[in-house]
């Protein structure tokens, strides 16, 4: 808020004399507007990227018609969706039917308020940031259930029930894992968590307590996949089972809103995961944190802070991994989903919380570092090499076994 106020005063010196309520409204509205514009245009890019990535993975070309390389395809689709008639099927609960997509979008967009894009580039640095993200993101569940209930469609209802069960279950391991960085930092503020990872690549939380935090990251990521209804956990909208799940009956603009919410949630999750584990806006090398000042002739540019770029890149690569997973994996079943949540992720998360908590309390390893730098990193290198070796061997073995099984098919 202070930063925004400073910008505002810098831009409009007269604003300092305005009535306080106007100033407060302005400094609240400006970042919100910026955030919303940026984020709501985001899905255009994500959808295009998803379609292209899926196409390339499937040896296809993907959209090529609208604009060069189909770049304007999603824009055209958006226009189409906006101009399409919103159909209210017979028997829907109109009020809930309309509110549901709005609520889902609220849940998807609100977490942006606390995501730090730079040391001072944060719409609001809440001291309960992590808690806020978890709480507000769950709001979309309510929207999904509303949508499923209001649609007066059995498939929608199935989808809604599945999504409720799924999100409630996956919230638990996700929150458990959120505890881990919070314990290390001792603060719920996302800004503080990011700042605690300063010092380059090796001090990101992903690489602390070496074998532990990567596992935590994977667990968080998997739980996040389930919370955003992405494959292989896209069972609420499993199109081969439930037609389209909770948004079966939605069309036109309302459908576009669900679509937007889904992609926004993807980005939110990736951004939060980057902040918690990948150092947020911090550059992998501290020197890259800001560029400049560059002097070209008499013109002097900078210094330009690159924090937003780093967070954007990190979040994007996580979004890419999500897409990658989606176009690789089949969908799991409802009970298997619950199995993964309660019997795989939750025990791992509990163990992690306990062990990391122990390390945090130990004075020798409190900062995470002395233990890490001299033992963890060589161990990490060794382990990565070993994993690589195992991968290669297992691949060969897998191939051989497949061929053997294919060869000996006689009873």
């Amino acid at each position: 808020m202070d930063a925004t106020y400073a910008y505002l005063v810098q831009l409009l010196p007269a604003a300092a004399g305005w009535p306080p309520w106007l100033v407060v409204a302005l400094i609240a509205a400006l970042p919100a507007l910026a955030c919303f514009t940026f984020m709501s245009l985001g899905p255009l890019v994500y959808v295009y990227a998803e379609r292209k990535i899926s196409a390339f993975m499937q040896d296809r070309l993907g959209p090529m018609r609208v604009g060069p390389y189909g770049l304007l395809q999603t824009a055209a689709d958006t226009v189409k969706l906006l101009f399409k008639e919103a159909i209210f099927p017979k028997g829907v609960d109109r009020r809930l039917f309309v509110i549901a997509p709005v609520l889902v979008n609220v849940g998807a967009f609100m977490p942006f308020v606390v995501i730090p894009w730079g040391a001072r580039l944060q719409p609001a640095d809440l001291n309960v940031g992590v808690f806020y993200v978890v709480a507000i993101a769950s709001l979309s569940t309510v929207g999904l259930i509303m949508a499923g209930w209001a649609s007066n469609n059995k498939y929608s209802l199935f989808g809604a029930m599945r999504s409720a069960a799924q999100i409630v279950s996956y919230e638990i391991p996700a929150v458990m894992i959120l505890l881990v960085p919070v314990m290390i930092v001792g603060s719920l503020s996302l800004h503080d968590i990011t700042e605690a990872q300063a010092g380059g690549l090796q001090s990101w939380f992903l690489f602390r307590y070496f074998p532990l935090m990567p596992v935590a990251f994977v667990v968080f990521f998997v739980a996040g996949l389930a919370e955003t209804n992405r494959a292989p956990f896209d069972i609420p909208e499993a199109e081969s089972e439930l037609v389209a799940g909770f948004h079966t009956e939605y069309s036109g603009f309302f459908f576009a809103m669900f679509f937007m919410a889904e992609y926004t949630e993807m980005f939110v999750l990736s951004a939060v995961a980057s902040v918690l584990f990948l150092g947020g806006y911090l550059a992998p090398v501290p020197a890259l944190q800001q560029i400049g000042p560059v002097t070209i002739g008499s013109l002097s540019i900078g210094p330009v802070a690159t924090g937003w770029l780093w967070l954007w890149l990190k979040a994007w690569s996580l979004v890419f991994v999500m897409m990658w997973l989606r176009w690789t994996l089949p969908r799991s079943r409802v009970d298997q989903l619950m199995y993964i949540a309660w019997k795989v992720l939750l025990p791992i998360a509990l163990v992690l919380v306990a062990v990391v908590g122990f390390f945090v309390l130990q004075p020798a390893t409190a900062g995470g570092f002395p233990w890490d730098r001299w033992v963890g990193w060589p161990l990490a290198a060794l382990l990565v090499a070993f994993l690589f070796f195992v991968m290669v061997r297992a691949l060969q073995w897998n191939r051989r076994r497949a061929q053997e099984l294919a060869a000996q098919v006689t009873p």
Binding site: D234, R333, Y339, N398
Partner: protein
């Protein structure tokens, strides 16, 4: 992982009408126990299809579900009924061929081959070894293409899109070969009574070899790695839709569906036609490597490895074609196809199982009566037995694993 069984037990456990015949005394099979009025209060009827995305066409399944668990299922077929058998009575024998093409439109070569062989058997026509070899080549190429669609769409039912498109890519190459040979990509009218419509074009053998080499060395291992041995895929299928051999035989499951349950029965071995007895190949059976024998996974597995076996047969057939002297492929085609008075039941191993033609001839140019025993029809008749106690997602898996083509069920 015990969760698969608990889901089913929950379905069979408390309340609800539980079929005493499941998993089935063969004496009691065949009766249907759909009790429309005896609906419990917590049960609901879900209508799946005929426009459902995963019912492989226009199949409609009525499900009585308790939550996600299916208590009873009732398939309704006939949405694609064209009364093929009535058509046959009104056209001459060559004119029946295009109609047989349109039954199992995914594997049209197998249908025409079956009918051509039936009429040839009744009229006592022996085609030359060259034509026989061409027919074997075409039938096996068609088997690969058909299984590619079957396995591909199956993975799509389970939620993975990419293997589907990878397999369709290879199927397209096979269709290119067909188009090159006879001018059509889907409905060939290639096998005639007493011959085939076109001789193979020059270079066909080499092109087929190239295709097979790529299939054997790239597509097939990739398919195994990407999806078949994927843990999620295996877990989804390996305990689902278990069909014991007695049930399978009683319900006349044939082809890969029967072999998935264990019995190594393949007409190409048991009652060879077109010189299949001279080829060296194995009968693929389900191995139950991940669960009970006869599950959805095993049926799909049989289809997968059968592609490899077909490629083995093809290599041998291509070797023979290279050495063989070309003869006129129309040599034995009669001017007017008029089989003597009589009746015959003849069956061939189509990609989806035993395709039987019961043909009654009264010595005219038109068949007096043609009855088709289509493998999908009988496979679908066991559906209500296997679907009981499943989850909705498993119903999709079951339909896919039976590999039905509605054009053939409804005829």
């Amino acid at each position: 992982m015990p969760s698969e069984t608990t889901a089913r037990e929950a379905g069979r456990g408390e309340g609800g009408p539980v079929d005493p015949a499941w998993p089935g005394q063969p004496e009691a099979v065949g009766t249907s126990d759909w009790d429309q009025d005896g609906l419990d209060t917590d049960e609901m009827i879900v209508n799946m299809g005929p426009q459902h995305p995963a019912t492989h066409g226009v199949l409609r399944v009525e499900l009585r579900t308790d939550g996600e668990v299916v208590r009873a299922a009732r398939p309704h077929i006939g949405y694609l009924h064209r009364c093929f058998e009535k058509h046959c009575e009104n056209v001459d024998y060559p004119g029946v061929m295009p109609y047989t093409d349109r039954m199992d439109y995914v594997a049209a070569m197998g249908n025409t081959l079956g009918f051509a062989l039936t009429v040839e058997k009744l009229s006592g026509i022996e085609v030359s070894p060259y034509v026989q070899t061409i027919r074997v080549v075409m039938a096996e190429l068609q088997r690969i293409a058909s299984h590619a669609v079957a396995v591909g769409t199956y993975t799509m039912d389970i939620g993975a899109f990419t293997p589907f498109l990878h397999l369709l890519r290879d199927r397209e190459k096979i269709l290119d070969l067909f188009e090159w040979t006879c001018g059509a990509r889907l409905l060939y009218n290639y096998n005639w009574v007493g011959g085939v419509s076109h001789d193979l074009p020059d270079g066909f053998v080499r092109a087929t070899r190239d295709l097979l080499r790529e299939f054997d060395s790239v597509t097939f291992p990739e398919l195994l790695d990407l999806i078949i041995h994927n843990r999620i895929f295996v877990r989804r299928l390996s305990h689902v839709g278990v069909c014991r051999p007695e049930l399978a035989i009683s319900y006349d499951l044939t082809g890969p569906n029967l072999r998935g349950s264990g019995p190594a029965r393949d007409l190409r071995k048991d009652a060879p036609y077109s010189g299949y007895e001279t080829y060296d190949f194995d009968v693929c059976v389900g191995k139950g490597q991940y669960g009970p024998l006869g599950s959805c996974f095993d049926r799909n597995w049989v289809r997968t490895v059968e592609m490899r076996e077909s490629s083995k047969i093809l290599h041998q057939a291509l070797d023979r074609l290279e050495k063989m002297e070309r003869t006129d492929v129309h040599e034995k085609v009669p001017k007017r196809v008029k089989p003597p008075k009589g009746e015959i039941y003849f069956r061939t191993e189509a990609p989806r199982g035993q395709l039987g033609y019961y043909l009654v001839s009264d010595g005219n140019v038109n068949p007096y009566r043609v009855k088709v025993k289509s493998p999908c029809f009988t496979a679908m008749s066991v559906f209500h037995h296997l679907a009981k106690g499943m989850m909705i997602a498993d119903v999709i898996a079951l339909i896919g694993s039976l590999d039905i083509v509605l054009g053939e069920i409804d005829r």
